[in-house]
Amino acid sequence: MSEIPTIEQYLKNIEERHFKAYKCSGCGMVLALPSGACYGCGSNKMDWTEVSGKGKLVAFTVIHVAPDEFAEEAPYYVAIIELEEGSRISARLSGFDPLKPEEVKLGTPLVLTYEKGKSGKTYLAFKAP
């Protein structure tokens, strides 16, 4: 793809189950979340890039009290995952019991997937490999 990455397309990619990260044209840094400027070199020139889908769990929480939009889905995990490419992203966790958070180990390896919530939304999610 040679078009300039946009936030709108980034979100559409997730909805269509084909996640793409930003990649800085200046230094090659992968940015899992869109940014107007590269955190590495400050360049504002970005491209799309595929990711391996592999990552590890950095931290998480379990949402019990959710806004109306997500109420049907509660309780659910929201986690911070560090991708193999070095950049972090927030996503749902898939396949982990939300009532047993004590059993979830930080640093555990994960792989990228997608999950359709009861609200009808498609979420980026990570599950055990």
């Binding site: 950095v58 959710a66 889905e73 309780p75 930080l106």
Partner: protein
């Protein structure tokens, strides 16, 4: 270089709580009256106003609030600006006032903050609060505001062994301190057992780990040295001020157990004042959640990283402890009307410094630090205050 010319000559707040039948304008006006005419300061002496309020657009369907509120409070015509930095709105309003006084542009100004949160449903208020987090990438996947601090708690528990019980001790202290504060939203003590009740909001944070949704307002009058003499023999001086921003979303942070904006802002304030944490007698920190109080005291260098929990357990942060933190009950038990909080924290510090805190008076009170933190830590303002004769 310590600030040379900024004085607080009066400070007041309304009761915080679910103030039924009291509007944003009325609360604002009450706080302003208490800090001006009732404190012997004529309103006509005020030259400009800096007002903090977070999201009245969503909460009371009102934007452009500064002139509106000032008009209601009887000061129509003054230059009036609204400052917004989520929960740090009040302190950013104060910072603007400091710059106005230190630059010599004005010599007598009003700083006030207010928020009316209970005229909408809890769900709507929660939605409004979520606007202080990254909507596009985090709120949109169902991360709530308590969730952000839940993540920080998980990271802190993993790295330092902090427990849910450690956090509960902070809540117990807050309610204990607020039980002798007639302006607090909650005025009953709670047991550790109650604080540990497993009503999870965002694991591991439970009901009693979270500050409430509240209404309230606070106001202070800030002047030059020259003008201070007109109103009081003993002003409180602002000697240091620091502010910093950070990424709003959690992914762009290398550390989740510390908030970079707090560290940066406090470093800047210490540097300006020519002080370090050792020179402080107490701290008023932003305890939007119990874990936030623990992390704030570490970020401000009051306790070493990972050691705040131990200090709380040992009673160090109690009113009669070696280093009191939030002696009047904090956000947790006094309430957190978002835009008012930053100004109310200054009111608390002012009263403690002057020895006017009644049953909540701390024994050593020459110098204090005030830490006001916005949203997920994307903004932080730190202010160092000292009693005029200290």
């Amino acid at each position: 270089m310590p600030l040379k010319n900024t004085n607080i000559v009066s400070a007041a707040q309304t009761k915080f709580g679910a103030l039924e039948g009291v509007s944003l304008r009325e609360m604002f006006s009450e706080a302003v009256d208490k800090a001006t005419v009732e404190a012997g300061i004529p309103k006509k002496d005020i030259q400009a106003a800096f007002i903090g309020t977070f999201i009245p657009e969503m909460l009371v369907h009102q934007g452009h609030t500064a002139p509106l509120l000032l008009d209601y409070a009887g000061m129509r015509g003054l230059p009036a600006t609204r400052h917004e930095a989520a929960c740090a709105s009040g302190a950013t309003a104060l910072r603007a006032a400091i710059m106005a006084i230190e630059s010599g542009m004005y010599d007598t100004v009003l700083v006030a903050g207010a928020e009316k949160m209970t005229s909408v449903s809890t769900n709507k208020a929660t939605e409004a609060l979520a606007a202080a987090a990254d909507d596009e990438f985090e709120s949109s996947i169902g991360l709530t505001f308590p969730g952000v601090f839940g993540i920080a708690a998980v990271a802190h528990m993993e790295k330092y062994g902090t427990t849910e019980e450690d956090m509960a001790y902070v809540a117990v202290k807050a309610h204990k301190n607020a039980s002798t504060n007639p302006l607090a939203q909650f005025q009953k003590e709670i047991t550790l057992e109650k604080a540990l009740m497993p009503r999870y909001i965002a694991w591991p944070l439970k009901l009693f780990d979270c500050s409430p949704i509240s209404d309230g307002a606070a106001a202070v009058v800030v002047t030059s040295n020259e003008k201070a003499k007109k109103y009081t023999d003993l002003p409180v001086k602002i000697v240091g001020s620091g502010q910093a921003s950070a990424s709003m979303n959690l992914c762009d942070r290398s550390e989740l157990v510390s908030f970079p904006a707090s560290v940066r802002a406090s470093k800047a304030a210490y540097e300006m004042a020519g002080m370090s944490a050792k020179d402080l007698d107490f701290a008023i920190v932003h305890d939007c959640f119990t874990i936030a109080e623990l992390i704030a005291t570490e970020d401000l260098g009051i306790f070493k990283p990972g050691e705040a929990a131990k200090a709380v357990r040992e009673g160090v942060t109690q009113i009669d402890g070696d280093f009191p933190v939030n002696p009047m009950g904090g956000l947790k038990a006094v309430g957190h009307p978002v835009g008012a909080t930053g100004v109310k924290q200054v009111v608390v510090a002012y009263r403690e410094l002057l020895g006017e805190a009644g049953p909540n008076q701390i024994p050593k009170h020459d110098t204090g630090i005030v830490h006001n933190f916005g949203g997920t830590g994307a903004s932080c303002v730190v202010t160092i205050m000292r009693r005029g004769d200290a």
